[in-house]
């Protein structure tokens, strides 16, 4: 027996043991690792609620009741998923390619403002569907434009994109506010806001419900991004750059070009999210409005390990938590940002679960 076989064999044995172990307990362990942390997070959240003097059972049941089991609540939950899913798609493209585009808020808001400023004016000239397409296009283009500077700086100067995208985000949010207050002001109202897109000119609703078809756009974007990243050569190139830029250079890829492409797609999706939110839900932008979706979606896509389908599940959960949480805030008095607290606890419990799982596997191997 050669040295190598001697080395390889124990490795194979342990691997065999691992597969047997996982085939027997696989589904159970996956369940424990994915559901366990959720339950743990809800329990910790319940303890916090108790400490704050609220009844956790009534809070949770109220949230679930309002966000999922009441028709209007479920419709609101699903409608909110549209823009959130587009943001998730934007982040998945970037993170899988190893690029931290954290400037989604600026890209989103600027796109929203430009869409809101344009479509009420063009609706008289264009048919509704063309007007909506124009709105979506404007959103994507404006978002992408706001990503150009960080993209160039990253691609050719190697400047850290976390800092540049965050800075561009602050600038974008401020610029959007300035535009709403000065340039795109609706002369017909006294409150500073853009012209409003009438309800009949907005994105169509799904099957006689109040759910916006923005949900479909979001679902389509996330699934498309997921398939592109996992099944195509373009996605493979992006993943290679993300996993090991030096290997990408070694393999002959043009890392700067791919970097710019990633920024363009990611920022365009963030801009599209703004367009969908305006065209589907809000119809206008009020001054100082900034939902800041991006930074709340970042933990969600990480919880889903940058998996598109997992992201849909987490976005649904988060959407329900916020919609239910907003109702609960009015009714029970628990602050509406408590849903963010749950997400934060969930991040911690999931991290812990992964750590424990890894340690368990190592012990089994030994």
């Amino acid at each position: 027996m050669t040295d190598e076989q001697a080395i390889a064999q124990p490795a194979q044995q342990s691997h065999g043991r691992a597969t047997r172990d996982s085939s027997a307990n696989a589904s159970l362990r996956v369940l424990a690792v994915s559901i366990g942390p959720l339950i743990a997070a809800l329990v910790v959240g319940a303890i916090l609620l108790l400490a704050m003097g609220f009844n956790p059972v009534s809070y949770y049941s109220y949230v679930v009741q309002r966000a999922i089991f009441s028709p209007s609540g479920l419709e609101a939950t699903l409608t909110r998923m549209g823009p959130l899913l587009l943001i998730a798609a934007s982040l998945i493209v970037a993170f899988r390619a190893g690029i931290w585009n954290l400037g989604g808020d600026g890209q989103y808001l600027l796109a929203a403002v430009f869409v809101a400023a344009t479509v009420p004016l063009t609706m008289n000239v264009l048919p509704v569907w063309a007007n909506l397409l124009l709105g979506l296009l404007i959103g994507a283009v404006v978002g992408a434009i706001w990503g150009i500077l960080p993209a160039i700086l990253k691609a050719w100067q190697g400047i850290n994109e976390i800092i540049t995208t965050l800075m561009m985000s602050f600038l974008g949010v401020s610029l959007a506010n300035v535009l709403v207050k000065l340039a795109f002001l609706d002369p017909a109202t006294t409150t500073p806001q853009t012209r409003t897109l009438p309800v009949e000119a907005r994105l169509p609703r799904l099957f006689d419900t109040a759910t916006s078809s923005g949900l479909l756009i979001g679902l389509f974007a996330v699934i498309a991004v997921h398939l592109i990243m996992t099944r195509t050569s373009f996605g493979m190139r992006l993943r290679l750059v993300g996993a090991n830029p030096r290997a990408a250079v070694h393999a002959g890829l043009s890392v700067p070009t791919l970097t710019v492409a990633v920024f363009a797609i990611s920022a365009a999706l963030a801009g599209l999210s703004g367009a969908v939110d305006i065209l589907g839900t809000h119809g206008n932008v009020r001054a100082d409005w900034n939902p800041a979706y991006t930074l709340t979606v970042v933990p969600l896509v990480f919880l889903a390990r940058l998996n598109g389908f997992g992201s849909i599940a987490y976005v649904f959960l988060f959407s329900a938590l916020t919609i239910g949480g907003e109702s609960a805030a009015r009714r029970i008095g628990v602050p509406s940002f408590f849903s963010l607290v749950i997400v934060a606890i969930l991040l911690i419990t999931l991290g812990l679960a992964e750590y424990l799982d890894k340690r368990h596997q190592e012990r089994v191997r030994r």
Binding site: E4, T232, S233, A247, S254
Partner: protein, 525 residues
Amino acid sequence: MQAPIQAPAASVPAPSGAPVVALRGVTKRFPGVTASDNVTVEIRSGEVHVLLGENGAGKSTLVAMLAGLQQPDEGHIEIDGAPVAVTSPKQALAMGIGTVFQHSMLVPSLTVVDNFALGGVWWKRPDRAGIAGRIEETAKRLGLRVDPYALVSGLALGERQQVEILRALMRGSRCLILDEATAMLTPHEAVGLGELMRRLVAQGIAVIFITHKLNEAIAYGDRISVLRLGRNVGEIGPETLRSATDAENTERIIALMFGTSRAGEGSRGEHRTRVVGDSVLQVENLCSEAGRVPVRDVTFSVRSGEIFGIAGIDGNGQKELAEVLAGQAQSSAGSIRLMGREIGGTSVGDRRKSGLRYVTDDRLGEGTVGIFAVATNFLLKDIGAAPYWQRGIEHPEEIRRQADRHVQDFDIRTPGIQTPVGKLSGGNIQKVLLARELTGAAQAVIFAKPTYGLDVNNIRATRKRIGGAADAGKAVVLISTDLDELLELADRIAVIDRGSIRGIVENGEGARDAIGRLMSAGDDR
């Protein structure tokens, strides 16, 4: 022990004292590599003991064990003749072993004094004036000038190193390890460090000086231990070092570093039977400033079926040359022609398409992506190519078929083709690279240190592949720091030194001596 007789008075600086620190039969293994193999070294006070060896010879592992960062698997460390276990850097310091690492361990935004105060207890205000006084006193004793209140970021690299040496001494080090201490210094600073080492040993300190540079070893060392592939292959004592000329010492060290004439002579006959064809790869006056070592005016040509070896001590522009040839680094002048076509200005991908392959020595750093599946790593350089992708869409069936074929043809030991490549042993990762680079329409293949860090069986398998590539009519460039390997495989051998080719030797009788002469000639300058 004869040491006490040799050094009767400890207070008087003796040229050769008792072993302060000793490694006895120390072995350290990492997955796939034996980094230290039964190493025995004695470090005496009042001596500069050079540990000389190439990258991967096991120098850093010895330092890590002495500094308490790692523990030996076998053997032990002795201090003043008593076996000890050095389990932490703190303990190493307490035992009098101070280490100055290659990269500065000082906080650049703090002053020298504050850096010295960092080790103190947290509840006491540091006695800055006291420390500053002691710094100045120690510095003066060693003939150094250090401003205790200077910001570290404002100091030159040589000065920072002096500060680190001072810090190690003030913490009571009797044995000072300088790890690749001259690597970051200007030539002038390096000379200064050499003088400082002399003054340190004059005060009875034992200095361990780690380097891969021959000339420095001879210039500053009292005793030289040569490490090769984890083993201590020979020691040259102070008497021998002093009595011989530098040239003789150089020759002796090169003989130790690259092995003396022995095995491999028999196998050399085989490749002579190969049919050497037309010139495939022609490199003329190639220059590049892109890397750490500039490539200067390199000219050679390789014919089909020929193995062209490039010998040299590691870090003399081999990597830079390979990267310029492969297109990963820009050339500043000269031409590279493949099959008569100029490829000097083309991209990495175009060069690969026209038949140039590059087997990198940095297998995990750039050759593969550790978290990607074996099957994926086979295709890293062909993303989007048919039949694995059709119109940009992946065809898993084709990818799987190719991976199965490679695993079988190249005898890759892996649990499966979906196993992340980073989980394989070094030898199997190398086989993945070879499978990727040697299949398809390759015309010329560049191998960079292809057997570096592999075990004996994988070395043999890899060398067979290299010979096989040449047998198949490919032009092979073999960059290696292992002279035996080059003598076994290559038809002609060039010697590279500081980025330029010193000369090209036909492999055959007397080639080893001719190469040795070219190498040492380079070191004399």
